[in-house]
Amino acid sequence: MTAVASSIPPEWYLLLAAAVFCVGLFGVLTRRDALYFLMSVELMMNAANINFVAFALYYGDLTGQVFALFVIALAAAEVAIGIGIILVLYRNFGVTDVTVPTEMRW
């Protein structure tokens, strides 16, 4: 493994991942447009990926890295589905604002 990567203490990776995760979460909570929502979620998933990759390196076993690839694939699939739903949302409600559809409540 490269000296740089190993010279960085694992806590830093954790902090980075946490930071990215929080940014994503912030996006989720603040953005009303479905697409932004989607992107923020992607961000959160990638935060997880950072951990996987970093600690795969740290522990020196490949599971984490491989799993990260899986996650990326799944994220893609999720986005595909998401876009589809957003599409029908637009068809039925004429907007992509997630706070608009509130016909069902209480």
């Binding site: 909570l29 997630v98 706070t99 559809p101 016909e103 069902m104 409540r105 209480w106």
Partner: protein
């Protein structure tokens, strides 16, 4: 020698069968099943005579014949609840009285009910049959529980018969009152029964293991009772128990303050009144005290209370009888008064005197009621004495017999009532010294004598003497043999019954042995140990003291005083009412008249109490619906409101969902983190 006592149950069951027959098949039978009743009571009467003869021949029996509830523990002891028969001189005598009166009432009813074309006769005769059966069962009972049970059945029958004319408003209400008031007394009686069983483990009247015997033994230290409530001294406890049982007596025998039901009970058909007042229901109370006299004799306080209540009731009721206008009302109050005398006697230790008066009264009071019944027939069911008058010429038989009964009731020599009442007063007198309550009872009893004579003859004169004061009185409806027959029988009895116990004569002339009843109840011809007047006298608290000179003097003075007073009352009545067209003199009494007329407003008091009770009940109902049920319903509505609050969280905006979700997660993390100390 066949055992007559094995037929004793038949005495009870015969009228019961007549009840079943009348109830089931009455409407298909001639006279609505009357003959069944007559035959049954006649059979019972004959059997009773046979029993009487057997007892006279030295026989007596105290036998358990049926186990009602098998032995089981009640805490201190095990008990077995059973039915049985106790035949001794007292019960044998009572059997004869009851069956005789019942028989005559049945016969009389043929005239009073059938000939008058009453409806619902089967129900009537069924009621009579059951009534007689219950009373007989009560008479032969060998233990307190059985006595109580038949006591209650008597109450039921009185309800059914008093309320016989249920289509009219009056009778049902009177019936209700009769049952309720007596039930109130029976409440205490029931506690008494339970207390006796709890205390002694038995409710037997007679025998070495009977509760009077056990109580006696426990008091004189030669034995002990199974249980007394914690901390209560035995003598006190026995007094309490005695008073509790007395509650039932006061109710049934219509003693103050539970007498109010009896005048109302006149709503029932007159023959029923005769049965109730002469021989059955009302007599039951006094009979009960006599039955368990061995127990009462042990508790002087109870005796004193009995005496006082009796004396007071005797006077109190007599005063109310003074002003009544209806024939049967007068008789009703006289009944209350006379049973007061019997209670006085019992309280005064005059066991025999009480039984004596019970006997004579049974006859002359039955006579008076049946006579009144005859008059009522004649008057087309108008009972107001002010519409009568001059009937003696129209209905001689009724008049003569009625007169005999009245003389007896008034206690005029030599009619039955004189002897018994005189003996009561004598017993009270000689035992009174040193017993304030008893002495008070005696005085009131004495005072009641002239009053009794007065209202009796006021009744006689108004009814039979003077000029007819209404058309019906001028042309009364004639009555038939089935009315006159019973009257004749009872009339003669009212004259002669006194002869069975002429104690004064014996004492004055020294003729030994003519005090038959004394010897009878003293088991001279046989009986059961511990149930003799002697025994009662021994364990009783009283000793005789003769105020004026010796015994003979006292006897004579006492007799003279009571007779004199009676005659005074009679004469006053004569003066006021034995005139062609008498007028009301009650006005002279002024305010007192209203008080007497309204029975001292005691009914009003009881009505008031009833209403207050209903108010309490209403309050309870409001509380129940408002508070208790309110809480129950409140819980549900609160939950639903809570649910409504909760669902508000789900407001449909997905971003807020995300926010709340995150918040929740953070909350969890913080909670676990803090408790787990991750952040250190």
């Amino acid at each position: 020698m066949i055992d007559v006592f094995s037929y004793v149950p038949a005495i009870v069951l015969l009228p019961f069968f007549s009840f079943l027959i009348a109830l089931g098949a009455g409407k298909y039978l001639p006279k609505g099943g009357a003959f069944g009743g007559v035959a049954a009571t006649a059979g019972s009467f004959l059997l009773s005579l046979w029993v009487l003869a057997t007892v006279a021949g030295g026989g007596a029996v105290n036998r358990t014949i049926y186990t009602w509830a098998s032995a089981g523990g009640i805490g201190p002891t095990d008990v077995e609840l059973s039915f049985g028969i106790l035949i001794d001189p007292l019960s044998a005598l009572m059997l004869v009285i009851v069956t005789l009166v019942a028989l005559l009432v049945h016969v009389f009813s043929l005239g009073y009910m059938n000939d008058e074309g009453e409806t619902g006769l089967p129900r009537y005769y069924a009621g009579l049959g059951l009534f007689t059966a219950s009373m007989l069962g009560f008479v032969v009972a060998d233990n307190l529980l059985m006595a109580f049970m038949f006591f209650e059945l008597v109450g039921l029958c009185s309800y059914l018969l008093i309320g016989f004319h249920f289509r009219e408003p009056g009778p049902p209400s009177a019936a209700k009152k009769a049952f309720l008031v007596t039930r109130f007394g029976d409440y205490f009686f029931l506690i008494g029964v339970v207390a006796v069983i709890g205390t002694f483990g038995t409710a037997q009247f007679a025998g070495p293991e009977s509760f009077p015997a056990l109580a006696d033994a426990a008091l004189n230290g030669s034995g002990s009772v199974a249980w007394t409530p914690g901390g209560v001294e035995l003598q006190t406890w026995l007094t309490v128990v005695g008073l509790l049982i007395l509650g039932g007596v006061v109710g049934k025998s219509a003693q103050f303050p539970l007498h109010t039901w009896l005048p109302d009970a006149m709503e029932g058909p007159t023959p029923v009144s005769a049965l109730i007042h002469a021989a059955t229901m009302v007599a039951a109370g006094v009979y009960l005290v006599a039955r368990m006299y061995g127990f009462y004799a042990l508790t002087p306080t109870t005796l004193a209370v009995i005496a006082f209540i009796g004396g007071f009731t005797a006077l109190f009721a007599a005063t109310m009888g003074l002003v009544k206008d209806e024939l049967k009302q007068v008789l009703a109050y006289s009944t209350i008064s006379q049973y007061g005398y019997m209670m006085l006697a019992l309280g005064a230790g005059g066991y025999v005197a009480a039984v004596f008066h019970l006997t004579t009264h049974a006859f002359f009071k039955a006579l008076l009621f049946l006579g009144a019944g005859a008059v009522i027939i004649a008057m087309h069911h108008n009972e107001d004495m002010w519409d009568m008058g001059g009937l003696k010429s129209e209905m001689p038989v009724t008049y003569v017999t009625f007169l005999a009964g009245s003389l007896a009731l008034a206690g005029i020599f030599p009619f039955a009532g004189f002897w018994s009442k005189d003996e009561i007063l004598y017993e009270a007198l000689v035992h009174a010294p040193g017993e304030p309550l008893l002495f008070g009872g005696y005085l009131m009893g004495l005072l009641a004598v002239p009053v009794t004579a007065f209202y009796t003859f006021r009744m006689v004169f108004l009814t039979f003497h003077g000029e007819p004061r209404s058309d019906t009185a001028r042309d009364p409806e004639p009555v038939r043999w089935n009315v006159k027959g019973p009257l004749a029988v009872l009339g003669s009895l009212a004259v002669v019954t006194g002869l069975i116990n002429m104690v004064p004569v014996q004492k004055v002339l020294g003729l030994e042995g003519i005090d038959l009843l004394h010897r009878w109840l003293d088991n001279e011809w046989g009986g059961i140990a511990g149930l003799s007047s002697h025994h009662y006298a021994d364990i009783g608290p009283y000793s005789s003291q003769y105020i004026v000179g010796g015994e003979v003097a006292t006897v004579l003075v006492g007799a003279a005083v009571s007779l004199g007073l009676a005659l005074t009352g009679l004469l006053v009545a004569w003066q006021l009412y034995n005139v062609p067209s008498p007028t009301e003199h009650t006005a002279k009494l002024g305010g007192i008249k209203d008080v007497l007329y309204n029975n001292y407003y005691l009914d009003e008091l009881q009505v008031w109490l009833a209403y207050r009770t209903e108010d309490v009940a209403g309050g309870a109902d409001t509380f129940d619906q408002g508070i208790i049920d309110g809480v129950v319903n409140g819980v549900s509505s609160v939950s639903l409101i809570g649910g409504d609050r909760i669902r508000q969280v789900q407001n449909g905006v997905v971003s807020q969902y995300a926010a709340l979700l995150t918040l929740g997660l953070v909350a969890l993390i913080v909670l676990l983190g803090v408790t787990g100390g991750w952040f250190l």
